[in-house]
Every structure is written in structure tokens, then in C-alpha cells.
């Protein structure tokens, strides 16, 4: 059985520190929700509030139809997988899974059946008699999930469950988790700081920062329509490039932004923009194109050019199928957020790119993000949004 989870204006203070600030959130039954954000953003605290391991300073928490704000953790119909797994080290895998059921007073045969079924789902049957110390990291992780499954909770809470696994295993377990969610159909709330896990697993991503929810939405929605600079920078790897500039002119379907390197034309509705306003232009690494310049021949395949910036090649990270090109801009004022170079992701290799070589980067007028001086995304009106912001294949 899957239940909805709803938070109403939940706050959590530790002394004077506000870990969670007035968070309201609804998670649908059976949904896979991921809380993502940098360390200290309050995502784990929020999960612990739902689990009942912390009590909210204000607000209420609802699971299904019930207000569980003051309900004991064991009575909330939840199960939690801890980052450390928190398996009882002196108990075998089977005993770990059975412990909670024993306390509920469940009959021995029933416990055995449930443990066997969960073990079967997770391929733990061979390991049931082992102590946690005799398990590998991945096996411990499965045992911890098994302990959650036998409780048949309405909601699964997972606190960075993959962070103790090595990279290869993490990818594998990620897939297993997605399958498990599909199989159990339970509501899952998953906390991670890893945006790749968030993007791949989530039905709904909750991006948090500084105790606040920055944006809630489906992964691609957040990717294509970030609400602000934080979300834009957090989701996507490498992160979005930010270029400082100001609005030069506003037309019905066109906006011109003046960057230090020159004007950039954007195909968007400029409603709400004021000429002279400070803005930040956001361009994802894959949305730049390297233009032909001297020895660097890149075919310009389709797509209009809204403008271009120039710089020198600092570094090319060749990943095989793609290359991450770091470009140091001529005008450092362009990127006042940091002196970091602009990062461009191109398919294949960068031909003959020696450090110091000059590069021109074309900006696609369709694929720019625009943020006001407070970091909030400039939203187009509904009519133009539909056509302008759908993911466009180059």
C-alpha cells in the first residue's frame, strides 16, 4: 500500500539555527521523490522529520489521511534505510530483518515467510545467516533495504543509501532501486546530494538549499526550466555556465542582452524585462557550439547564432564519446561569479586543441536561460513558453 506524504509549513530549528524553513510539500502515493541539495541544505533533516526521528518546531506532517506529527516513528507506517545502513552488527541478516516484526508480536512462521520473500526479491537468501560484518558493501545495502521491505511500509525513506558504495556498484544499485520501486509501487522518499541519482531515479525532484525548497518538479522540467540560478547550477553536469550582462533591448519575440564581449540575441518574449536591467545569462555546456576559427574547424550544424563569446582553450578533458572544453574568456568580467572558465561539452574530440588556442563559442538563441539580478528565472508568458522552451535537438 502506498500513501501520500504531505508537509504543511514545516519548520525545524536547532537552537538558533533554522535547518528547515517553512517547507510545504506534497508527495503523491507511489511516487519516487528525491530531496536533493548541497550538504547542510536541510534535506536529511526533512527526511528525519518525516521519519519522526526529529520533531518539527512548527507545522504538521501527514502520511496518507493521518496527521502523524506527534505519532511515534514505529507507528507512522514508514521504513527507513540509513546512510550507514544501521544494521545491528550482532544480529544475522535474517535477525536484522525480523527484529521489528518480532517487536510487533508477529508470529514466528509469518516472520519467516516475510523474511524469505524479501530475501528472495533482493537475492539475499544465501546471506540470511551471515552477520553484517561478513557482507560486502552492496550486500549490506541490500540487507538494509530488506529490513525496510519486510515491514511493508506505506512510505520508504532512504537517506543517501548509495553514498557508501563505490562508483560502479552505485550505478548498479541505482538501477536495482528503480526496479524495486516499480515492483513494490510504494511511495519512496530518497535523499541525496548527487544530482545524477536525483535525475535518474526521481519522479519528482525537490531541490533544497539553505533549509528552503528552491523548486519542485519532474527531473527534465527542472533541467529545462530551472526556477532560479541555484537550481540551474545544481542540476546538470558539468554545471550551467553563467554570464553577467544587462538587457539592451526588448522586442516582442526577441531580447538582446549585452555581455562584455558583445550583444547576444535571444529568441524569447521579453515581457517583464526592463532595458538596462542587470541579468545573468545561463548556458548549459552542451548548448554552446565551437565555431570555426583558424585551425579549429567545427561544422556549424543548424541552429541560429544569437551571439558569440571568445576565449582561449585552457583544458580539454577527453572522455571518449565527448570532450569537456574549458575556455578562459577574454573578458573576465563576463563571469563575475567566479574566475572559472566556461565549460563546453562537445561530442567526440576537439581537433588539434592546444592550450592557448583561440576559440569562439556560439550561443544558441533558443537555448539560453535568463535570470534577474536576484537570481530568479525570467519566465516567458504561457503562449510563447510552449514553443520556445521544449527541448530542441540540435
Amino acid at each position: 500500500m502506498a500513501s501520500s506524504v504531505e508537509l504543511k509549513a514545516v519548520e525545524k530549528r536547532f537552537g538558533t539555527f533554522e535547518a528547515v524553513k517553512a517547507v510545504s510539500l506534497a508527495i503523491e502515493p507511489g511516487e519516487f521523490a528525491v530531496f536533493v541539495g548541497p550538504s547542510g541544505c536541510g534535506k536529511s533533516t526533512l527526511l528525519r522529520l518525516i521519519a519522526g526521528l526529529e520533531a518539527p518546531s512548527k507545522g504538521s506532517i501527514h502520511i496518507g489521511e493521518r496527521d502523524v506529527t506527534h505519532v511515534h516513528p514505529s507507528q507512522r507506517g514508514i521504513a527507513m534505510v540509513f546512510q550507514s545502513y544501521a544494521l545491528y552488527p550482532h544480529m544475522s541478516v535474517a535477525q536484522n530483518m525480523a527484529f521489528g516484526l518480532e517487536i510487533r508480536g508477529m508470529k514466528r512462521e509469518e516472520i519467516r515467510a516475510k523474511v524469505a520473500r524479501a530475501a528472495d526479491i533482493l537475492q539475499l537468501t544465501e546471506l540470511l545467516d551471515r552477520k553484517p560484518r561478513a557482507l560486502s558493501g552492496g550486500q549490506r545495502q541490500r540487507a538494509a533495504i530488506g529490513r525496510a521491505i519486510v515491514r511493508e511500509p506505506e512510505v520508504f525513506l532512504l537517506d543517501e543509501p548509495l553514498s557508501n558504495l563505490d562508483a560502479a556498484l552505485r550505478g548498479q544499485v541505482r538501477v536495482e532501486l528503480a526496479r524495486l520501486h516499480a515492483r513494490l509501487g510504494a511511495t519512496m522518499i530518497y535523499v541525496t546530494h548527487d544530482q545524477v541519482e536525483a535525475m535518474t531515479l526521481a519522479g519528482k525532484i525537490v531541490v533544497m538549499n539553505g533549509g528552503r525548497v528552491e523548486q519542485v518538479g519532474a527531473p527534465l522540467e527542472l533541467y529545462h526550466r530551472p526556477a532560479n540560478v541555484f537550481v540551474a547550477g545544481f542540476l546538470g553536469s558539468p554545471r550551467m555556465n553563467f554570464l553577467e550582462g544587462s538587457v539592451k533591448s526588448v522586442h516582442a519575440r526577441q531580447v538582446v542582452v549585452a555581455l562584455a564581449s558583445g550583444p547576444v540575441l535571444l529568441s524569447r518574449d521579453g515581457a517583464g524585462l526592463v532595458v538596462g536591467e542587470r541579468v545573468t545569462l545561463g548556458v548549459r555546456p552542451e548548448d554552446f557550439r565551437v565555431l570555426s576559427d583558424g585551425s579549429l574547424q567545427r561544422s556549424v550544424s543548424g541552429g541560429a547564432i544569437g551571439g558569440a563569446i571568445e576565449g582561449r582553450l585552457v583544458l580539454a578533458e577527453r572522455l571518449g564519446a565527448e570532450t569537456l572544453v574549458h575556455v578562459g574568456l577574454d573578458t573576465t568580467v563576463l563571469d563575475t561569479r567566479s574566475e572559472a572558465p566556461v565549460i563546453v561539452k562537445i561530442a567526440g574530440d576537439l581537433p588539434a586543441g592546444a592550450p592557448g588556442a583561440r576559440l569562439r563559442l556560439a550561443i544558441d538563441p533558443e537555448k539560453c536561460h535568463l535570470f534577474d539580478s536576484r537570481g530568479a528565472a525570467h519566465r516567458e508568458t504561457a503562449a510563447t513558453e510552449a514553443t520556445a522552451k521544449l527541448p530542441v535537438s540540435a
Binding site: 521519519a51 511515534h72 527507513m80 540509513f82 552488527p89 550482532h90 527484529f99
Partner: protein, 297 residues
Amino acid sequence: MYTNRAAGLAYVSPFLIGLALFLLFPFLASLGLSFTDYRLQDRWSDAHFVGASNYVEMLADVTFRKSLWTTLVYVLLTVPLKLAFALFIAFVLNFKLRGINFFRTAYYLPSILGGSVAIAVVWRYVYAGDGLINQALTLAGFATVNWLGDPSTALLTIILLRLWQFGSAMVVFLAGLQGIPQDLYEAAKLDGAGPWRTFSRVTLPLLTPVVFFNFIMQSVQAFQEFNGPYVVTGGGPIKSTYLLPLMIYEEAFKYFEVGYASAISWFLFVLIGVITAIAFRSQRYWVFYAQDRERAP
């Protein structure tokens, strides 16, 4: 390789000399003496080898048997009570409370003071006929108890003196408790375990290595208790607090029977050794080590 051998030896010599003079020599000498009829006032050369006769005599000695029995009762009561008490206080002091460090220090203080002769003297006054406890009993309207004069209560006062020194065991328990990850308590909470079940099924099993360590330490110390009976009761009344270490002392330095005292010492040494060995053997049935001792299957 060791070019400064002489200098190195010079540096460690104070320790080596001390070890040889005050530990190794008495240790071996007492073993040798236990097979002789050596008396304290005798010259070494006057001692005669008497074989195992000291040991034979000891086993037939009514005083020794009573003393051994008293010692066993003392240890059997002291060690579990002290461990339980130390664990209880450690458990309480493990709560996150304001000013908890003050209480931790306060509860540890008796251990620093407790073993000393001065405290034993204080103890004698506290339990004396007109001592603090009897005065309190009188005030509360109860009849006074002849704590130190009654064979049935004298041992109790000696036991309490040792229980009062629970601090060192407590500190070790406290360290053990703090080594148990908070996550496990949270997992137990989510599993619905109440305080008692959490303690008995999670805390205690994970604490068994520390329980074991404290059990060994406390047993060894309890078998060697001397200050309490010597200062507070003098072994009486009617030898009801006459523990083996006190008997060893009196045989050697009151009756000058060093050979005989040495034999009792060695009996006590072997007894402690056997009990410790049994405890170590028993570990696999009740002590849980989180770190791997056996190979993973």
C-alpha cells in the same frame, strides 16, 4: 645498527632495574619461598626446602578455608554488583543533559579517592557504632546496627566500600556506550523497540566486549582487596572479613611465616589465573566483537 646500545640501555635501565628489583625478583622469590619453611627473622641460608608441605598444610588449614570462602563470597558479590552499578551510572551519564560533564567528573571522584587508606579510615568512622549511618538511622527513628561488630554485616561494609569505587569501570562503560552508533538506536526506534528492549537487544550485546574487560579487571582487583578489611575491620569480627590478601599479609608480617604466606599468594595467583582463563574461553558464547576476529565465510 644499534650504535647507541649503551646509551639506550642506560635510558631504559631505571625501568628495567625497577622491574627486576620490585617485580620479577619478589615474584620468583615468593615462588621459591613457598617451598621452604623460611621465616621473616631467619637468614636466607637458614631456610629449608620442605617440598609441597606448605600447600598441603594450607588446604587443611581451617582459617585458610574460611578465608578462601570469604574471598569468593566477596568477589562473587562485589564484581556483579559493581559492574551493574557502574553500567547503570554510565547509562544515566550518557544522556545528553546540561552540565553532564560536571556529573561525570563528580561520579568519577570516588574512584580517585576510594582506594586510599584515608577513605578506608573515613569508612570506619561512617560505619562505627556512633558513626554517621547509625546517627542517621536514629534520626529516622530506626534501631542502630552494629555494622562493623556483627559478622553478618561487616563484610557488607567492605563490599560497599568497593562498590563506591565504581568510577573506573563506569568510565570504561561510558566510553563503550558512546561508541555505539546513534543510527542503531534510531533504527531500533523505527523498529518499535522500547527503552528496555533497546537496552537488552541492542545496547548490551554491543557492550559485551566492555563488560568482559571490566569483568576481568574487577575480578582481579577484587581478589586482591586489602585496604578495606585491613583498615576498616581488621579482618574481623570472627574473621568474617578475613580476605586472602589480608591473611597473606598477617601470615608474613605478623606471624613471620613467609614460606606459608608465599604458598597462599601462589594459590591466589593461580586461582585468579584460572578464573581469567575460563572467562577468556567463555567469550565466544557471550561476547560480541564488531571487528572481525574470525574469517568471513
